[in-house]
């Protein structure tokens, strides 16, 4: 088996037929970096199925790095998440019509898990490529936080040697035009490049660095 980097993306949400996070994960699939191969997994926007899917993906691909991606409309750049919290509190229903209200994700889990990716290095490397990026201090309480928490909890509970975290991407220009033209957007190609940079930066660096990387939102 080759060394794998797993990139996840979410299935389209609600009535959308497109989700940039899935599109970017799919386009990175089969990419190679040194002896690493990119694999991808499609995650359902579903309170019950989201975490079992990522667990199956981890068991299937035995990745060394997991980067979950999701859409966060309204954000102006690539946001590299710092932390996932043990709460599912949905502002709107998931694709199965379920609304989680103030639920604990894992009764026996830690209140929060920090991303184990070198988030500052990643943020800086993405910016160096000319793409706006920042460290985000909240992944929300919807499915993206659920997935990030579920991933980090599964890794911690099973003592796996996997580094993982979450990256949020904005709307694509096509989505902004059709859904809300006042929303910030970013071309899909930039998102693909940013996530690839995040994966490569993680593959190249065991540790993060202490550096000022701008205002963290």
């Amino acid at each position: 088996m080759s060394r794998n980097i797993l990139i996840t993306g979410y299935e389209p949400f609600g009535e959308d037929s497109f989700n940039p996070s899935l599109a970017l994960a799919e386009s990175l699939s089969e990419c190679q970096y040194k002896d690493f191969t990119f694999q991808y997994a499609k995650i359902p926007v579903n309170r019950q199925k989201c975490i079992p899917t990522i667990e199956k993906a981890i068991r299937c691909y035995h990745p060394e790095i997991v980067i979950c991606t999701g859409l966060a409309y309204g954000r102006a750049g690539i946001s590299v998440e710092r932390v996932a919290i043990n709460v599912a509190d949905f502002p709107f229903p998931d694709n199965a019509g379920y609304v989680a209200l103030n639920e604990t994700i894992q009764p026996d889990g830690a209140p929060a898990y920090f991303a184990t990716l070198p988030i500052r290095r990643i943020t800086q490397a993405i910016r160096d490529a000319g793409i706006p990026a920042y460290v985000s201090n909240s992944a929300g309480t919807y499915c993206c936080n659920l997935l990030m928490y579920g991933t980090l909890h599964y890794i911690a509970a099973n003592h796996l040697n996997i580094r993982a975290g979450m990256i949020h991407v904005p709307y694509t220009p096509e989505m902004a035009v059709t859904k809300d033209f006042q929303m910030p957007s970013m071309a899909l190609n930039n998102m693909i490049e940013a996530v690839k940079i995040a994966a490569i930066t993680t593959a190249e660096h065991e540790d993060d660095v202490s550096m000022v990387c701008g205002f963290a939102q």
Partner: protein
């Protein structure tokens, strides 16, 4: 390689889009087989004759061209392929003939090389696919020489053990419009299959896994080494769980997986393939909700199905005839029996599955006893009823199914 007129005309048309000159391609007899001027096809080309004699380019000057009708100043150059001349290309390019001629000559040779490569790759793939199809469907001893030769040709190891697993996929999976307007429907179909196989191979990530596609059926040959750390049970379980995940992600749930088992060497693959197919078929009959079925779990049903059809029919008619008649079209007796056996004769679980009170279930089971004389809660009677029920379901399945797969059993 022979330069046929179809390929030659393709090269002429392709080149004519880039440069605006008269272009002719001649075969080794100096006959024009493709041209920007279709009227000249079939004529003997003077320049080509000289090239074929000397092996060198031949330039026709303006002065010489004037001597003959239909001849324009230009250059004729040999078309090389693997150190021999397979034809001649002639370009009516006037003063620029030499420079342009060289470019067109090398362009022509490149196109031929590319065509040849694609053709030989296709041929190799076809031979390999044919071999793999035989490997799955034919006993080794029937064609031992052929198998041994092919194994060597395709770099397989005869003594290698393989886990054999099949997955039935929807027939309409590859039907759709070609994305590329140059592809015909058949090319699109072939491309979609090989793309799917590539994706599955990549995602499954097992070294030297071989995936064979026969209509509606993907078969996975996964090398299994005796020196492997995990035992065969864990190996099979892990593969099936990974395959299930990868197929769910790729095909959106529309599949059945049949686990044949481990073939101890390549000569045994066809047996495990048969088992995998049987597992799928039996699972669809006895428990269609279940998407994964191992042959080991349906061995009893497999043995039952080897009984001649007339005997099967006689058996279920005798035991269940009255029940079926009383059941009518959408009756409850047989579905109650099915659910009762599926839930290991548990009253509580069966009642829960059928959304009925346990007393209702007990009433139904008693009624079945009255009609058939066999009590479903009694172990021996239950076996008799289960066998009859399996025969009856098989008959129904075969009536419903247009495809005749009974020879696979």
């Amino acid at each position: 390689m022979e330069l046929n007129s179809e390929l030659a005309q393709y090269i002429v048309d392709y080149t004519a889009k880039i440069v605006d000159y008269t272009i002719n391609i001649m075969n080794p007899e100096a006959i024009i087989i493709a041209s920007t001027d279709p009227g000249r096809i079939g004529e003997i080309h003077r320049g080509a004759k000289k090239v074929l004699l000397t092996g060198n380019p031949y330039i026709i000057s303006e002065k010489e061209a004037q001597k003959y009708p239909n001849v324009v100043p230009g250059i004729s150059l040999p078309i090389h392929f693997q150190n021999s001349i397979i034809g001649v290309v002639g370009i009516g390019a006037g003063e620029q003939a030499v420079t342009i001629g060289r470019i067109i000559q090398s362009n022509t040779e490149l196109l031929i090389e590319q065509f040849h490569l694609r053709e030989s790759m296709n041929a190799e793939e076809q031979v390999r696919n044919e071999f793999l199809t035989h490997l799955l469907s034919e006993p080794w001893y029937e064609n031992e020489f052929y198998f041994n030769h092919q194994i060597e040709l395709h770099h397989f190891e005869k003594e290698q053990s393989y886990l054999v697993v099949s997955a039935e996929v929807p027939a309409e999976l590859f039907i759709g419009k070609a994305l590329n307007r140059y592809d015909s429907e058949i090319v699109h179909y072939e491309r979609s299959i090989s793309r799917l196989l590539e994706v599955l191979e990549h995602r499954l990530n097992y070294i030297n896994i071989t995936i064979v596609y026969l209509p509606n059926m993907l078969t996975f040959l996964v090398p299994y080494g005796t020196k492997q750390q995990e035992n065969s049970e864990t190996f099979v379980r892990t593969f099936i769980s990974n395959l299930d995940f990868v197929l769910t992600q790729t095909l959106e749930n529309d599949y059945y997986i049949g686990v044949g088992g481990i073939a101890r060497n390549m000569t045994k693959i066809h047996i495990q393939y048969k088992h995998a197919i049987s597992a799928i078929k039996i699972s669809k009959i006895s428990n269609p909700e279940n998407r994964i079925c191992s042959f080991a779990d349906v061995y009893f049903e497999y043995q039952l199905l080897s009984i001649p059809k007339e005997k099967q029919q006689h058996y279920y008619n005798k035991l269940l005839g009255e029940l079926i008649r009383e059941d009518g079209e959408n009756g409850i007796w047989l579905s109650t029996l099915e659910a009762f056996f599926r839930n290991n004769q548990s009253i509580g679980k069966t009642a829960e599955e059928l959304f009925i009170h346990r007393n209702t279930l007990l009433f139904r089971l008693n009624r079945i006893k009255q009609i058939t004389g066999l009590h479903p809660q009694n172990f021996k009677d239950a076996i008799t009823l289960y066998v009859a029920l399996t025969f009856w379901k098989l008959r129904n399945f075969e009536n419903d199914s247009s495809e005749n797969t009974s020879e696979n059993m």
